[in-house]
Structures are given as structure tokens and as C-alpha cells.
């Protein structure tokens, strides 16, 4: 059988993965949800035909979206995760005994259902007593919160679907309002490489800069995402991601990771010149 999953990464570029089996295909109220199995990447989840995660490389994304902010401020107690119905971010957060409360807001209940059934190694922490799951629009949820969370993780899909509201200025502004005075917001910030992703990345960065006093960008290497070079936003009211970073303190927590480490933390914020330029281009325009 010669069955392939393909996704366009740019107009003339696509990534194809050989499929051994399609495990699940459902249409929810919001999107088309599919789970496939493959030799190279193991099981993987797609939404509306876009790659969300694979068993093989999800650790990179989930470690980077959680441990970076947690290591900058290990005193974080209350965390809001928006999107992330796959449970990967929650799995990483649950490893911090110091976290008291995790609220997960996912618009699509079906995503959680599917992940629990087909990707149980990722959706493994939904029973954690500190976790409460809300099935609603992230923008709506955060709009009603004020001075409540120490960390908000925006684990959104691309800005061209149900996730588009999570790339808007009103969303980032409302997140700022929902955070405590030393709060941090981390978001997946698309890729700097291909045109369409680049534009989305710049727009998101511009809006975050307008909403937060400190706004930095860091990177990771994620093989199944377009170009493999992926960015995250680190926005904060008080903490600087490097100057206020104490790698030793994090190491003492004894959390074992496969991608993240204190040296990489510093390095992740060292961006290629062309990326720096793209960011600077939108930082001035307010």
C-alpha cells in the first residue's frame, strides 16, 4: 500500500509522510480531525489537514512552550493553557509539583476525546486533580479574567481557522489583563521562513509588543512544521527571559527533558539575523 499524507508548507513545497494506517477521521463542529499512523513519525494528529503533532517530535514543541517560562519563574502557581486539547502542554506542566492550578481552555471537545483515545501518551494527564478543562472560545474565556494567572500558554493552531482569534490584539490585551503583575504569556508564533507563516509571525509579534512591556522571541527545531524552524513568543510584565533566568535553580528541580536544558534556553533566544530583522521591522510601528 502506497498511502501518503501530504501538507503544503508553501505554494510549491510539501511535506509527505508515508501512512501505515488511518486511525480516526471525524468532523467536529469546528474542524476536520484526523489521526494517522506512520513508520517514521509514529501516530500523528492533523486538524483541517494541517499537522498538529507527531509522537516522534512533539516533545520538542511541548517542552519549549512550557519549560522556558517555568524556568524563568519557577514560582508560577496558576497557569492558563489555551488551545492544546492534545494535552501535551499539560503533561509537561504537571511535572512541576509547585503548580497549584491549571486551567485548560479548548474550543473543540472532540479534539480532547480523539487524543485521549488515540494519543494516550500525550493526552495522559487529564486526570490531574489540579486541572480543570473548559470547552469554550479562548478569547471569550480570557476576557472575563483579571489578575488571575501567573502564566498563560497560547498553544494555538494556525491563524487561518478556529485559532484566528488567538492571534489578535484584543486577545493579547485581554491576556495581559488576565495575568498577575509579574505574569508571563508564551505563544506559538509560527515560522519566519515561508511567506505566509512569516506574515502571521510578524503580525502576532507586533500585537504582542503593543500589549506587553517585555516581548522576546525564541526558537526551536520542529521537523514536521513548515521549514522546521519554529518560533515562540515570550511576553512578560516583569521578568526578562535571560536577565532574570537562573538555570541552576531550574536544574535543581530535577525535571528530566529530552530537548530543553539551561544552555539551550539562552541559545534559543539568540535569533538568526534575518529573523531579528523581521521582528525589528514591526517593533517600531505602533
Amino acid at each position: 500500500m502506497d498511502l501518503w499524507f501530504s501538507e503544503f508548507h508553501a505554494k510549491g513545497v510539501k511535506l509527505s509522510i508515508k501512512i501505515t494506517k488511518q486511525l480516526c477521521s471525524v468532523q467536529s463542529d469546528f474542524q476536520q480531525i484526523d489521526v494517522f499512523d506512520s513508520e517514521e513519525f509514529g501516530k500523528f494528529l492533523t486538524l483541517d489537514g494541517y499537522m498538529m503533532l507527531t509522537e516522534r517530535d512533539e516533545f520538542i514543541y511541548h517542552e519549549m512552550i512550557t519549560h522556558v517560562p517555568m524556568a524563568v519563574n519557577p514560582d508560577i502557581k496558576k497557569v492558563l493553557v489555551i488551545g492544546a486539547g492534545d494535552g501535551g502542554a499539560v503533561r509537561e506542566l504537571a511535572r512541576y509539583k509547585t503548580i497549584e492550578k491549571i486551567d485548560l481552555v479548548e474550543i473543540d471537545e472532540k479534539v480532547v476525546e480523539v487524543c485521549k483515545e488515540y494519543l494516550p501518551d500525550i493526552a495522559c494527564c487529564f486526570d490531574d486533580p489540579r486541572l480543570t478543562v473548559y470547552y469554550q472560545d479562548g478569547l471569550k474565556f480570557v476576557r472575563r479574567c483579571e489578575n488571575e494567572y501567573d502564566l498563560i500558554i497560547v498553544d494555538s493552531t494556525d491563524p487561518f481557522g478556529p485559532g484566528e482569534g488567538l492571534f489578535t490584539k484584543e486577545f493579547y490585551g485581554n491576556c495581559c489583563k488576565a495575568l498577575t503583575k509579574d505574569g508571563i504569556m508564551v505563544n506559538q508564533c509560527e515560522s519566519p521562513f515561508y511567506q505566509e507563516d512569516r506574515v502571521a509571525m510578524q503580525r502576532a509579534h507586533k500585537r504582542i509588543v503593543e500589549s506587553f512591556p517585555i516581548s522576546k522571541v525564541y526558537q526551536a527545531h520542529i521537523p514536521t512544521y513548515p521549514s522546521g524552524h519554529w518560533l515562540f513568543g515570550f511576553a512578560s510584565k516583569l521578568f526578562h527571559p535571560i536577565k532574570d533566568y537562573d538555570g541552576k535553580r531550574w536544574q535543581e528541580l530535577g525535571i528530566s527533558t529530552r530537548y530543553y536544558n539551561p544552555q539551550l534556553h539562552i541559545g534559543a533566544f539568540a535569533l538568526p539575523n534575518y529573523v531579528q530583522e523581521l521582528l525589528e521591522n514591526v517593533e517600531g510601528i505602533v
Binding site: D137, L139, K140, R143, P162, E164, G165, T168, K169, E170, F171, G173, N174, K177, E210
Partner: protein
Amino acid sequence: MKLDQNRAPIKEALEELQNNRVVPFDVPGHKRGKGNPELTDFLGKRCMSLDVNSMRPLDNLCHPVSVIKEAEELAADAFGAGYAFFMVGGTTSAVQAMVLFAAKRGEKIILPRNVHRSVINAMVLSGAVPVYVNPAVDKRLGISLGMSVSDVETAIKENPDAKAILVNNPTYYGICSDIKKITDLAHSHNMLMLADEAHGTHFYFGEDLPLSAMSAGADMAAVSMHKSGGSLTQSSFLLTGQNINPASVRQIINLTQTTSGSYLFMSSLDISRQNLAVKGREIFRRVCSLAEYAREEINRIGDYYAYSREIINGDSIYDFDATKLSINTIDVGLAGIEVYDILRDDYDIQIEFGDMGNILAYISVGDRERDIERLVGALSEIRRRYKKDKSGMLISEYISPAVEMTPQEAFYAEKESVPLEDSEGRICSEFVMCYPPGIPILSPGERITNDIIRYIKYAKEKGCFLTGAEDMNTDRLNVTR
């Protein structure tokens, strides 16, 4: 509805034309797009191939005998009208036809002052005389309301020779007068009843919405199908009642209507009518519930007031169109126009308009819940970031006009241009309005007062887009000599 509303005769005729692969040796010269590849690339092949000219199988808008006639009859059936004319010059052209039909030079029309400029424009053309009924004003919201029945009665008593009464059904803000009673009054005094239903298409198809002009027994109604009805911009209907002879109306329409009616517009009217007739009830139920949800959420933010049916007072607010999301912004300390600008500049959200104290977000079948969340989220942010003291804000929007000449006399009079500050006491010979909503602050023939000058300056300061005057910046006004 008696006819088969699933049919769409103009659409069907266009499809048949395409299937027959007719070779065009007629206009338009782009020949189904082949002659203009850049435009075809931009608009799409399908769109260009449908941009065709009148021909026997497609009928003729100026003298319809086949498919356009059938489509017009279907529309009349769907709207419960005697006849329905396809209009391709915007609702402006439908309003124009009503006014030109109802009153000739020197004849009077009773109407509220908060009409759209197209009504007064038509009077410049025809020489008809406006008799204004001052609309009531809601002081808190700073908006003009409907006409009260007793004010209309007074106007009739003082002007028994008037030929027609015109109402907004509803106003831009969603406010309705008692159209049934006013229609009965008009008819008992031998006057025609005209309705500007630019914002009322959905009244004909939804449930629990205000009464439509045709159901009230009105004689003519201008209906913007392209607003809540979903057709292409500039396409519209003129409806006539059972007692109006459509053939005479057609003659009036043909005075100013193009002889090359666009089949893109006409097919969009045809298909949208089919859609509303078949699915309208369900569509507007959804629109109402989206608007209702938005109102609840916006009112929960604080300071904003998204008003609805609770403002109904039985007379000047006889009914309210609950699909309209009108929001008062005064308590946030921002003029509506300021919120309008912030929404667009900072949040990439384009709303319909902002005036001194209100904004209007147009909710339609095309909206999704998550778009509503964006609007609510942005309004909440704007309040958090910009809220200020509301003192010093000008809220009252209505200034009662002093009419000195008919619009036509003033428009064509000998005139001169004077600076705005020096225009007090002079008679204006042109329009001044904020656009949108396009309701004149001054129209030709009205005396300029200090209040009006102050209002224009304030509107400019707040960033309103002032239009109508010959001087693009409205620093000068044309006045009669």
C-alpha cells in the same frame, strides 16, 4: 407565497447561455473575460463570463417581458408586494424613483428630517417640497428616533395638499415608527405612503421582527437587498403596493436607470431572493440570536450600552429591529466615531459606522460566533485602555432645520463660497453630512445656525468623515447669494 420560490429565472437563463457556448459579437468588449486577462485573473473566470449584455434569452431590464419579468414577479411574491423592480443603481435609485413618482415640482412630501441624502437628492431633481416632521430625540443615546403619529397628524393638517408621506423603516439604528397607523393616515388623506427600507430587507423574511412596509399596506418601498439580504453591493428592490400601476413606475425608473443593467447584479438579486424565500426564517433567527448574544456580552463589560427592544415606547420608538447591534459609547468617555477608528486601526475590526455617541456593528448571516468574540473582546480592551471622563462630550445629534427654500431652488440658486465660521445666518445650497450614516446635517435650502457650525466643527475634531460639500474639507460652505 404562491409561486415556486426555488426557481431563479435569471440564473437559469445565464446558465443556459453558458451551456449553449454562444460566440459573442456583442458588448461587453471583454468577451467573457478573454479580452482582459488581468481583470479576469483578479475577479475570476466565472464572474467575467457572466458579465453579459441584454439579449433576447436574457430579457431587458428597461422593458422586461421574459426572464427578468418572471424574476420580478417571483420577488414580488416573496415580498408580498404588487410588483418588485430589480434596481441596479443602488437603493438610492429606488428611493429616487419613489420620490419622482410621488411628487412633481412644487408638490409636498411629508418626511422625517433624518432621511438618507438620496431622498433630498431626489427632491433636488424633481423640485418637490419637503415638509419635515422633526423626529423625536433620545437624549441619553443621542440619536434621532421615529416620527410620532401625532406629529404626522399635525403635519397633515397643516399640509392637506401633500402628495405623500415617507418613513424610515427602520432608521440606521433600527428604530421603527408606527408604519401601520401612518399608512392608514396617509391613505385616509389621499396621500401615498413611501418607505425607505434600506435597512429593512429582513423584515419580510424573519420572525418577530418589525412590520414591513408592504404588510402595513404602504404604496412603495425601497429595499436594500444588498444589506441584510446578501446580494451584491448596488443591487436593490423597489416594491410597489397592490394599488400602484407598475407600468407608470417603470416609466419613472427608466428616466435615470442605465440601459445596460448588470447581470451580475440581477442574478445576485434573483439568487438572494430565492435564498431568503426558502431559508430566510432560519437565517434571521440565527442573526437575531448572534446579535442578542453580542448585546448580553457587551452590556456585561460595563459602560457600553447595547440597546434593544427595552427602549420601545409605543410611539417614536414603536418597534426596534433586534438584528441591529447599536451600541452607545458615551459612558466610556469616547465618541462612537473614536471607538470606530480604534477598532479598525488597532484591532482590524471594521464596523458599519460610528457617530457622536454610538457605533453600529452590522450582524448578518455571514458572521460566526468567533467573530463576535473578537468584537466583544476588542470593546472590552478599548474600555480598559481608553476609558475617560465623559464630561464635555457632545451627545445631542439632532438639530432642527430652518427650511427657507426648496432643495431644488437652493441647489440651483446663485451661490458663493464662504468660510464655515462666517456662514452663520446664510442659506446653505449644498449638503453636509457625516458618512456613514449619510443623514444630512445641512441640506440645500436650510439656514445655517451657530449650533450647526459648532456641531460640524465637533464632528471634524472627533474624526468624522464629512461629505457633501464642494469643499472637500468642509472648511467652506456654498451659500445662496
